[in-house]
Every structure is written in structure tokens, then in C-alpha cells.
Amino acid sequence: MTPAIITNNLTKRFGDFTAVNGINFEAKRGEIFGFLGPNGSGKTTTIRMMLGLLAPSAGDVQALGISVKGNQAELQQRVGYMSQRFSLYNDLTVQQNLQFYGAAYGLNNTDLKSRIQDALVMAGLEGRENAKTKDLSGGWRQRLALSAAILHRPELIFLDEPTAGVDPISRRAFWDLLYQLVADGVSVFVTTHYMDEAEHCHRLAFIQRGNIIARGTPAEIKKNMMQGQVLEIASSDAVNTIKILRAAESLDLQEVELYGSLVHVVAQNVEKKKKDIQKLLKKEKIQIEDMAVIEASLEDVFIASMK
């Protein structure tokens, strides 16, 4: 089967500014492909080109094995799109929103009825058909938006920061829905800047300033991108720990970052540097409560690679 998405030297320039700089990647069918990057890195521009809303300056995109350019009409029926904030009309009721989606995709009335029922079950909104969408909380609205976006049973669905501004429990529930979709054979392309979500993707691409700087499975990315290991330190004074360790040039540490109340140190052969770190902190009268080499998280990788 052809891949869900292939980009080939996909480029977008706005005047002198290159928003997306010749990116290449492939998203397989039946997988969740995560597109990661900070704000302004080119994520939305890329998604707009993949949807055919924006013409590339160079290169091209194929979705479901056909070129996006010139085949929009066909792709619109086979592809779904959802953005958490903007997919629904807030002044319409749940039922009215779903009906509008259904009619827009040309579903006949009997299909529409049963699919709306499915969508309500999926979003957990049975019995709240007549609630105004604006009265739903973020999590409900997001699940409704997803249910609406797949009402026409697309083979591929684009999600643009679908969980922005939603509480962790709702995000969890949302990802459960995504796994369910993938199990049914739908391919998912999702942009996010939540690292914990990125870990849930089958395959990832990191984009920074329009360039893809890493791609692969989360495990591959951690292995390839991370030079050195991560040492996690719990100390009595995290802020000063960072100051001291950053100033200690002789230790040759790559990264010293605050991680909640903990400090993450990235370095080659970090195990051997433990003693020196201990000594240094003791001299400065900082107590070490715990110190251990841990597996790098995507966030460590992300921060390390963004520098």
C-alpha cells in the first residue's frame, strides 16, 4: 500500500522568508505520525500545504498515493481535518454541527443518522445533542471536533494541535480515541508541542525553522539524537545547582536544565562525572537527595537538539 503521506522537497517561501525548507518525510498507513516543533517552526504551513490550502513554492506532497495538487476535490472526500479551536461553530448545537458536517460531505439521511449516533457515542455526548457547542468544556469540544472530522470516514486525518489548552485527563481520553481510529486502519498526522504526546506517536519528525532535524520512531530519535546520557539530580537547591554546574567548565557538561524541581544534566560518560559533581555541590553546601542516570525523554532530546 502506498504511504499515507509523502513529501518531496516541500518548500514554502513568503518573500525572503523560508517557512518550510525542502522537507522530506513519509508517513505510513495505519500509523500515528507526529509532527513536532516549537511555535513558528513551520508546522501549520506544512499542514496547510498538505491540505491543499496553500500552494508550495517548490516540491510536492502526495496524500494517499495521489498528488495533492490538482486532486483536491477527490482528496477532500478521503481526508479529514481538525483543529481543536476552530473546527466547530460555537453557536451551533452539537447536533447542528454534526449535521452540517454530514451534509457538507454529502451523506444521505439514513447514513447520517447512524453516523451521528456513532459520533455522539464516541465523543461521549449522548443526551447532550442540543447543547450549544460553546457551552461544552475543552475536552468535550475536542472529542466532538474529532468525531465530526471523521464523520465521512476519511482514510487519513490531519490534526493541527488538537489538544492545545486541554487538561491532561481529556488529552489522555483523546489519544485513546486516536489509537482506536488507527486500529480501524485510519492514518493520523498530528502536530503537537506536547512531548508526552510525541512519545505516543508511532513515528515522528522534528521541525525547526523550516527544516526537519530528526525523524524516526521515538526510540530511534532518542538513540540517534542524544549525544551522551542524562543524569537526574534531586537537590536541596535546584536553581543554584544549575548555576554552579553551568559555570563548571572543567566537567564538560553538554546540558544543564531545570526539569520541574529536578535538574537534568546531559554529558558523555556521565556516570564517571558523578563523583566530581557530588564534590562540587558539597563544596557549595548543596545537599544531593538523589542522583541517577535515567533514560532520556523526548523532552531532553528536544531541548538538546534545539540548541
Partner: protein
């Protein structure tokens, strides 16, 4: 295709029902505006406050003041004793005009070689009442003049026959302001309503962020345009019918021409403004921007319609501009059908101009909007 258009139109009507003030404004804003304009201008200008500084205090000067009052254009605010009071009153905007009668007024009137004079001060800051005041005063003075001449030539009034023009005003026998203003206001309100409503069609969804979603759905750009145009046409046309009933039944503006012709041309004109509004709509990033653009375009059109100032008295270049403003032709058509009972045989130049402009604007709009949406 039809199904998708209907789905979109239905959605638009649900928005309207939820945002009830918007259609309410569209439907009744114009009617209310007309009511205010109609009532305010229903009667000719009268009761302009007048101050008199009479240095003469003679029978002749009193009779002059009475003649001025009898025109009904003026109402005597006060007889004053010094010029300062007049100056203050004018500055405060308390009076529209003042008359200063010199001490020798009666004497000069009576003398066979007398040369009576009179000063009149008008509040030029408000030019319309000032013009009306001037005209009324001139009328009074002309008739005084006539009497003076008769007396000095020692004729009897029966022998004197001066210039007696026979004036007849067609189409608006009473020269009622309302007959002039209300049809024009109605025409302009139709323009504003249509433009504004059309301008919100896309700018609103762009501002809310839902336009992207709409473009990703399998709507063709034409389907989106038609689906969004139907509610605008329905509301704007209803508004027109409401306003027409209002001016006809309340302000007694006649409909002397063919009503079906008026409806057909109103519909055509509405489509032209719809096209313009949609162009403004796709170039606007927010509803506020669209609204300001409508205001700008609407006000410019207004200047060229001939309602505020006659097109014939504009400089040549502006007259040309006026001819490419659809609203100008629309007002001519509207007035022609309502007041003059004109038909196509008379109106055809305006109808043709509207058709040519309309075709041009609609073609451009359709292309422009489609391109913006694709």
C-alpha cells in the same frame, strides 16, 4: 451540489437566529432610520428663530417684522436692544437669523427719493436653514419693493402689472422634503444593508477561524459563494420590501411606475452590491476591518449618488466617477419609478449603465472571491 449549498445556507440561517440582533438590525435598522428621516423632513423648513434689533420703532418697521413672521419660515425669538445680544445668540446657535432695522427706516421708506436699507445676518454654519431664511427674507423684501415702486410711480395697485411667473412643480407638487429624502434614504439603506451583510460573510468565519475548515470540506468555491449569498439576498430583499411599504404607507410616497419593474431592478442592484460586499469580505481579516471598508465604500458611493449634492453641479471628473457608481443609477431608477412613474423607455440609460457595471462587478467579484477561496 444543491444539497451542500442548502446545508451551508441552513447553517448561515442558524447563525442568524442565534445572533438575532444582526438580522434585526438588517431588517429594522433601515426602517427606523427612514422613520426618523421621514418625520424630520416631512414638512418644509419653518420656525427658524429670528432676532430683531429695531432702531426705528416705527409702524413701518413693525409691519416689516410682521411680514417676516407671516412667512412662517421665521418665528420671532426676541426684540433686542443692542447688537451684542444678537452676536451672543448667533454664537450660541440660539437663532438662525437676525434683522437690524436702521433708525431712518420709516423716513427713507416714506420719502420720494428715499433709500431704505436693512441689515440681515444669517447663521451660515448651518447652510440649509440659512438658505431657506434668505429666500423667505428676499420674498418679503421683493413684495415691499413692489409696493414702494407703485407708490413712487403714483400708480394704483390695479394698474401695476409686473412680472408674474406661473410656477408648477412636477412630481412633488408640495415640494415636500420627505418625498425627496425618503426614497433616496431607502435606496442607500438597501446598499448599506447588502454591503455590510455580504462583507460579514467571510470575514466573520476568518475571524473565528472556521474558514479553513470550510475550505477543507468538499465545497466548491461556487457552492460556498451561493450558499452564503442566499441569506444575504433574502434578508436584503425583505428589508427593501419593508422599507418600501414604510415610505409608501406612512410617508405617502407614491409608486407611480411599475412595481414589478421596481422589484426586478432592486433585485439586480442588490446582486451588484452583494458582489462588492463579498470582495470586501474576502480581503478583510476581521469583521471590524470589513465593517470599516463598508463604511468607506458606502460613504464614497453616497457622495456620488447625487443625494447630498446634485451630480450635475460636480466638476467634470467627479461626474464621470458618479456614472460608474451603481448607487447613483439605482437612485435615479428608484426616484424615476416612484415619483415620475417612469418606465423602461425613459430609464433605459440608467438600467443599461447598471447592467454593464453590474456585469463587470459581478464577474470580477466572482473571480476574485473564487480565487481567494481556492
Amino acid at each position: 451540489m444543491l444539497k451542500r449549498i442548502l446545508a451551508l445556507t441552513k447553517k448561515e440561517f442558524i447563525h442568524l437566529r442565534n445572533d438575532w440582533w444582526l438580522p434585526a438590525f438588517m431588517l429594522f435598522g433601515g426602517v427606523l432610520e427612514l422613520m426618523a428621516v421621514g418625520w424630520a423632513t416631512a414638512r418644509p423648513i419653518s420656525n427658524l428663530p429670528l432676532m430683531v434689533l429695531d432702531h426705528d420703532r416705527s409702524a413701518a418697521s413693525r409691519s416689516l417684522v410682521i411680514s417676516l413672521e407671516n412667512t412662517e419660515t421665521f418665528t420671532l425669538e426676541a426684540m433686542v436692544d443692542d447688537f451684542q445680544t444678537i452676536e451672543d445668540a448667533l454664537e450660541r446657535g440660539q437663532i438662525s437669523a437676525a434683522i437690524i432695522i436702521p433708525p431712518d427706516y420709516a423716513e427713507e421708506m416714506a420719502a420720494s427719493d428715499g433709500n431704505p436699507t436693512l441689515s440681515m445676518i444669517l447663521n451660515g454654519a448651518e447652510s440649509v436653514p440659512a438658505t431657506a431664511a434668505l429666500r423667505a427674507a428676499e420674498g418679503v423684501i421683493a413684495s415691499l419693493n413692489e409696493k414702494l415702486i407703485i407708490k413712487r410711480l403714483k400708480l394704483s395697485p390695479d394698474e401695476f402689472s409686473g412680472f408674474a411667473p406661473r410656477l408648477r412643480v412636477w412630481f412633488n407638487e408640495a415640494l415636500s422634503e420627505a418625498l425627496y429624502t425618503t426614497p433616496a434614504e431607502m435606496g442607500l439603506m438597501l446598499e448599506f444593508t447588502t454591503l455590510l451583510f455580504a462583507a460579514l460573510a467571510f470575514s466573520r468565519e476568518r475571524e473565528l477561524g472556521t474558514l479553513e475548515q470550510l475550505l477543507v470540506m468538499p465545497f466548491s468555491s461556487l457552492e460556498i459563494i451561493i450558499g452564503k449569498a442566499i441569506p444575504v439576498i433574502v434578508i436584503a430583499f425583505t428589508d427593501f420590501v419593508l422599507m418600501l411599504s414604510m415610505v409608501h404607507f406612512v410617508f405617502k410616497v407614491p409608486i407611480r411606475g411599475s412595481l414589478p419593474l421596481l422589484f426586478i431592478l432592486a433585485f439586480g442592484y442588490l446582486l451588484v452590491e452583494l458582489g462588492k460586499g463579498m470582495v470586501l469580505s474576502v480581503i478583510s481579516k476581521s469583521q471590524m476591518q470589513a465593517f470599516l471598508l463598508v463604511l468607506l465604500f458606502g460613504m464614497t458611493d453616497f457622495m456620488f449618488t447625487g443625494y447630498a449634492a446634485p451630480v450635475e453641479s460636480m466638476p467634470q471628473a467627479l461626474q464621470f466617477v458618479a456614472n460608474i457608481v451603481p448607487a447613483h443609477h439605482w437612485l435615479e431608477i428608484l426616484r424615476g419609478i416612484l415619483l415620475k412613474g417612469a418606465g423602461m423607455d425613459v430609464l433605459w440609460p440608467h438600467v443599461a449603465a447598471l447592467a454593464v457595471l453590474g456585469t463587470f462587478i459581478m464577474t470580477f467579484s466572482l473571480r476574485f472571491v473564487r480565487k481567494a477561496l481556492d
